[in-house]
Symmetry: C2
């Protein structure tokens, strides 16, 4: 994990010095409004100015960032001779920065790098071994994108949301200043927590079952998400809560907690279809489909794993695995309700008649040329549809 972590109160004010070690001119990538309202953008700009780093501001990253936006920002970075992409924002800004860094260096459109996209030929993908240097400043504890080598990009025309990745995308540095997350609204805080929790359970449920070190680390991080999401919602400017949540989000996807365990991300695959078709929050989408996924897939295939999670994370005291697993699902739903992410597909505006299409699309985009997606077993479109239907109302 080659990304250097700068963690702590006020670290954002060191941005200029940290960037200056890599570049004289940066493309500063952020969204349209929130970092301006909260003052984070001002802090970053002040720090860049103080360190003598020049920058070009690109402030048009949308939630679920789109390929067309990436290509435009990449063109600007090339024309302006930016030597580094600096991301300020949530997962969208950080994922966009990775894609922009790729396009800016190669001059090729991002769709050539997107896995499973209609526009890309799956087997002829360009591996991303190099890109412009990237530095991330997360303003939200959620995606873990700040310190790993993956990103998710949406092609809004084809309704495809899929991943890019490669060793060239590891940020040079991640500046984790928990105070930047004080102003995150409750719904984003909760959606972010649901996202972190999902990152933790996906590999835990689907990966190698003989990796107790990884399991214990993962359970420890899960317990932290449960506790500190609630604390951050109760008291948004509680440093300890925000710091724990932010550090957990980074550790959840940094490759350490589940190192070597392998595993698949079927719930992410399903959710990405939902948010490619409907512009819903990723974390919210994950929370909506997780209970049905646990009921229909994990309870059948690996009830003992769900039971272990129930006991070690939700403190369920029940010896029978199936009963413990079911109690774990109930406890998870209870937590979703407490933090305010419990919802239905109908509740976020999805139409029932689109479920079939979205189930098929999940397989097409993530199926890697097969008619299933990997999980505890290879899941079919019908199984995905069944989960969507159970999550509908």
């Amino acid at each position: 994990m080659p990304t250097r972590i700068h963690f702590g109160k006020g670290e954002v004010n060191r941005t200029g010095d940290i960037v200056a070690a890599h570049a004289k001119k940066a493309l500063l990538v952020t969204g349209r409004s929130s970092t301006k309202k909260t003052g984070s953008l001002d802090k970053v700009i002040t720090s860049l100015n103080k360190a003598g780093v020049s920058y070009v501001l690109f402030d048009r990253i949308e939630p679920n960032p789109r390929a067309t936006t990436i290509d435009e920002a990449g063109r600007i970075a090339r024309e302006e001779n930016c030597e580094l992409i600096l991301a300020l924002g949530g997962g969208s800004a950080m994922d966009a920065a990775k894609a922009i860094a790729t396009v800016a260096l190669s001059g090729r459109p991002i769709h050539e790098y997107i896995r499973g996209s209609k526009a890309s030929k799956w087997k002829e993908l360009l591996p991303i071994t190099e890109a412009l240097p990237i530095i991330t400043i997360p303003t939200l504890a959620a995606t873990g994108s700040e310190a790993n080598s993956g990103a998710v990009i949406t092609n809004w025309e084809t309704r495809e949301k899929a991943g890019i990745g490669g060793p060239g995308l590891f940020p040079k540095a991640a500046i984790l200043d928990p105070e930047l997350t004080y102003t995150v609204p409750a719904n984003y805080t909760a959606d972010g927590a649901a996202d972190i929790f999902t990152h933790l359970y996906e590999g835990y449920m689907t990966g190698d079952e003989h990796a107790n070190v990884q399991d214990e680390l993962t359970e420890g991080l899960m317990r932290n998400v449960l506790i500190y999401a609630k604390k951050a919602l109760d008291d948004p400017k509680n440093y300890e809560a925000r710091a724990h949540l932010l550090w957990t989000s980074t550790l959840a996807l940094i490759g350490i907690a589940g190192a070597g365990r392998g595993g698949a991300f079927p719930v992410h695959a399903m959710e990405h279809t939902l948010s490619a078709h409907y512009d819903i929050s990723h974390g919210r989408g994950l929370a909506i489909i997780t209970p049905a996924y646990f009921e229909q897939i994990i309870l059948a295939d690996r009830p003992h794993r769900l039971a272990r999670l129930a006991r070690n994370v939700f403190r369920i005291t029940e010896d029978n695995d199936k009963r413990a697993a079911k109690a774990g699902i109930e406890a998870l739903i209870h937590w979703y309700k407490e933090i305010g992410v419990y919802d239905t597909l109908q509740g976020v505006g999805i139409k029932r008649e689109d479920l079939r299409l979205m189930a098929d699309e999940t397989i097409r985009v993530n199926g890697n040329g097969t008619n299933t997606i990997p999980g505890t077993h290879n899941m079919t479109a019908d199984e995905v549809l069944s989960i969507f239907e159970a999550s509908y109302e």
Copy 2:
């Protein structure tokens, strides 16, 4: 953490390819006999030959590696134009490799880099920002040296054992093949486990107390040491046991479990004096003095931390902190006895009349110019002596 981890069964057979990415010629550093007896050295040499990497063998690293040996190996690496130092062995071989890589690049004797050494001027130490590339192949789960930037070197003439460190010492890669540890004798396996456990509790006891993510990760790793040390002793060729123990040893000192928590290593400081004066095993020395350290220092300063460890690691159910802490010490002693590291200073051949001198030396070598060493409070020579005396018989 820039070290690339190659973990798994048979990974040692990829050594040649992994080294070839960095160098055409390596100095292969190992001890006098065990890697020859077990066949590990043959595997490494076969792999180097297959990949066309030439090497010079330096097989004279002693336990508690000495400055004179380092300087000689460094001279050989320079004369032979070795481009990389490849370590095969336990903490001694890996620590030696880091020191040799430093000397080989700079041409300066290692004592100029050793913290707290009589020979070095504390405030004029050369920071180790560069060294020859290093690759480690641990044959023992213990020191965690395989993937961090520190090392401990002994000056046998002055009876000083002290650290070197710096960003230049991170290995390029660590090849973690649990099968290489199948042949580790029971006493080394147990000493290694005691060492890992100490790495985990030192920062946990002395560092920031508001770092629950780090605490949970640390406790998870501790539980793994307890379990898998016993399994490895019961069944030395159990892959799962050896793999878990090896991965835990790496994670314990990789900087992740305790990241940002800070903390001090007073028990290591005390033990280093013991093994600088008497050539005892580091892990055994740690196990001998830990109960008295817990009794005299932690029980007084932070009984709640010891109580937390007792509850979360040893599953003590006791609400009162002092009582839980005391039960935790008993449980730890019980584990030490089970794995066979429970001992006394007298039992490993240390003379009572040397205790005072060694207490004073602990402060001098580790005191950083002050007359105390850091811990939950700044500990004096008298406090160190008191711990040594309580551990004597």
